[in-house]
């Protein structure tokens, strides 16, 4: 048999049939739905169809979840009620607002042990790539596809090409998975990995915690890849074991035996290979309106007149929207507020990293810290991180997507600048006219303290970066 990649193995074990034209019909092991699935349930209803596998379908309130008290606006309350109603009508387990398991879909899947190596996971959300950190085939789908999965527990998909991004060496202190991701996206472009499934490998990837691996896989979509994956290893198994929905006893042993066969064979071929040296990576911030607009914090705002001819107009438009001028040092950009949250960077390790910088210091600008789930919230409170954030002057709020997508009413006002641990610096993403700079939790904490974008590394002297 020819050598196989992780992608080949996952694909083969889920393919039910392959049509002559190359489209595969794949079995879906887990289907996660959130408030945005209302279009899909409406489609199902229009056909008079039922959910094929309610036991493999899980709902969660996150995109519209209020982070302070109850939903303020009636349309927000309606979105939440619609999901809860649809879940109940179809017999689907739903982690509602009052459920201690509630949180952002890509945080709670792994937390509850719904996300396992070797599974195919779909969700009507592009950051579903997060779950690939466990060695799962996980990808975001649109409403028509969500309706299809609800009705059939399968999905039609053409196999993407395999791509390997290898990070050699070790990350320096104060540099993390967010920086690794922004580094490759800046290098290859926001559409650089389009049509590919990425497998991340190399010493620096192996050294990442599961939280860090999730951050790295989460951002795959910002570089155009629908899939991001890391082969499961001992760290993966240790992270999964004992979680509420994870297998137990004999089933666990069987599972680990299967999962151990998943890593790409040593001589497997990839359609594309990229190698980056992790020890070269500095803390990165974005300056523009696409995640590819990312540079080390030690750099300056790019000059459109020196950009490649094709890029000049876009750079100019981005600087105009962001209110920046060419040549300005990135570390001199003043921010109005900060946000720590989202499926990219609101897991416990992210909060620890931010707290390590903030401990005993005061923030100069206001900000929100929204944990990725109620369990992360409880854990952070048990560790006293909430007090560090509040003593620094930041607001400690409930779990949900919050200011990542500004659907629940948490928005950045027009023209205001936010240092944010989220994943998209698109125009208007955090509210109409909002200016977003993406960076790691430690870097956001540093910006909060100084009031401008700041290299966090000197601020870590004598502290552990968690």
């Amino acid at each position: 048999m020819t050598a196989q990649t992780l992608l080949d193995k996952l694909w083969m074990s889920h393919e039910i049939i392959r049509r002559d034209d190359g489209a595969s019909l794949l079995w879906v092991d887990r289907h996660l739905v959130h408030e945005g699935s209302h279009h899909a349930f409406a489609k199902l209803e229009a056909r008079g169809a039922r959910v094929a596998e309610p036991g493999l379908t899980f709902g969660v309130v996150d995109h519209y979840a209020p982070t302070r008290g109850r939903p303020g606006r009636p349309e927000i309350a309606r979105m939440i009620a619609t999901l809860e109603h649809n879940a109940a009508a179809h017999g689907i387990t739903c982690f509602g607002l009052d459920d201690p398991r509630q949180g952002i879909v890509h945080v709670i899947g792994p937390e509850q042990g719904l996300t396992l190596p070797g599974l195919l996971i779909n969700c009507g959300d592009s950051h579903t790539s997060t779950h690939g950190a466990f060695g799962a085939l996980a990808f975001g789908i649109g409403a028509t596809e969500v309706a299809h999965v609800l009705a059939t527990q399968t999905i039609w998909q053409k196999k993407p090409a395999a791509m390997r991004i290898r990070f050699t060496g070790r990350l320096g202190p104060g540099v993390g998975a967010k920086d690794m991701a922004l580094c490759w996206i800046a290098k290859l472009g926001a559409d650089g990995a389009r049509g590919h499934a990425i497998e991340y490998t190399g010493e620096a990837v192996r050294a990442l915690s599961m939280e860090g691996r999730m951050t790295l896989c989460n951002l795959s979509i910002e570089g155009g890849a629908r899939f991001g994956m890391i082969a499961p290893d001992a760290a993966t198994f240790a992270h999964v074991k004992g979680r509420p929905f994870a297998p137990e006893g004999n089933a666990w042993d069987d599972a680990v035996a299967t999962w151990s066969t998943l890593p790409s064979d040593p001589d497997a071929a990839f359609a594309r290979e990229i190698t980056l040296d992790a020890s070269d990576i500095a803390p990165i911030v974005t300056w523009g309106t696409s995640p590819e607009d990312a540079l080390p914090v030690t750099a300056t705002v790019p000059d459109p007149d020196r950009a490649p001819a094709k890029q000049a107009d876009r750079v100019r438009a981005a600087l105009d929207y962001m209110g920046l001028s060419a040549g300005q040092p990135l570390s001199e950009i003043a921010v109005d507020q900060v946000f720590i949250g989202s499926c990219t960077n609101a897991r416990i390790e992210d909060l620890r990293a931010a707290a390590a910088v903030l401990a005993g210091r005061r923030a100069r600008v206001p900000g929100l810290v929204s944990p990725g789930s109620q369990q992360v919230k409880a854990q952070a409170e048990a560790e006293g991180l909430d007090r560090i954030f509040m003593e620094a002057g930041l607001e400690w709020v409930g779990a949900g997507c919050s200011m990542c997508v500004a659907m629940n009413g948490d928005t950045v006002p027009p023209g205001k600048r936010c240092a944010s641990t989220t994943n998209r610096n698109f125009r208007g993403r955090q509210g109409r006219g909002a200016r977003t700079h993406l960076m790691s939790p430690a870097m956001v904490a540093a910006a909060a303290i100084t009031g401008h974008l700041t290299d966090v590394r000197p601020m870590l002297a004598g502290r552990s970066a968690a």
């Binding site: 309606r78 596809e145 399968t154 297998p247 993403r429």
Partner: protein, 208 residues
């Protein structure tokens, strides 16, 4: 969804790179039921100023009956929100010609009868340079992958699976139901081969 093979309409240029899904439809409109129509939300914050007045110079405001968009790389990047496609379709757009598209956007487009036609960047440059502000006539031929924009003839790429789907107006759920036996057999096999892949009963209770 009904299929189509030929479209005649009006082309307009949107001379920007990376028009992402958050621009195609800002998140605040997404709680609207589809039956109300998503056309007014299309590119809302570019088409309308903060007071809600149409920006006169914006191409879609100049040429309101446009049905073919010609634009630059990485169109529809970002979120999986199918609402971005609903906004285009409800506005009357039938085809978008660009050098590259967000993957999820492109499959959503095809699922709603909207053609994401991939065209060489150089050809897009020429088309945009040629297009008058008032737009130009457009003819798209799906079957042979050609288009005529003004007096320029071009070819475009589309995955053959998608071409077939657009032409036939296929509904995937109907197609899949034809494989119901294979799916059922696969499930039985799977439960036997990898019982671990099914969630354990442990945490599996519905929220009170």
């Amino acid at each position: 969804m009904s299929g189509w093979t030929r479209h005649e309409g009006k082309a307009v240029a949107l001379d920007r790179e990376s028009i992402d899904t958050d621009q195609l439809i800002p998140a605040r409109f997404m709680s609207t039921p589809r039956s109300e129509g998503y056309g007014p939300f299309l590119l809302h914050d570019l088409r309308f100023d903060a007071e809600g007045t149409p920006v006169e110079t914006f191409p879609l405001n100049r040429v309101s009956e446009s049905s073919v968009l010609i634009t630059r790389r990485n169109f529809g990047s970002g979120s999986s929100r199918e609402a971005a496609v609903y906004a285009l379709v409800d506005f009357g757009i039938r085809a978008v010609l660009a050098p590259s598209f967000g993957d999820i956007f492109a499959s959503n487009a095809v699922n709603n009868g909207l053609l994401p036609a991939q065209v060489d960047a150089g050809v897009v440059d020429a088309l945009i340079a040629d297009l008058p502000e008032t737009g130009a006539s457009a003819r798209i031929d799906l079957a042979d992958g050609t288009a005529r924009i003004g007096d320029r003839s071009i070819t475009f790429e589309i995955d053959p699976i998608w071409r077939k789907k657009l032409i036939n107006g296929w509904d995937d759920i109907d197609l899949t139901h034809r494989h119901a036996d294979a799916i059922a057999a696969d499930r039985v096999n799977r439960a036997r081969r990898s019982p671990w892949a099914f969630p354990s009963g442990e945490g599996h209770q519905t929220t009170a």
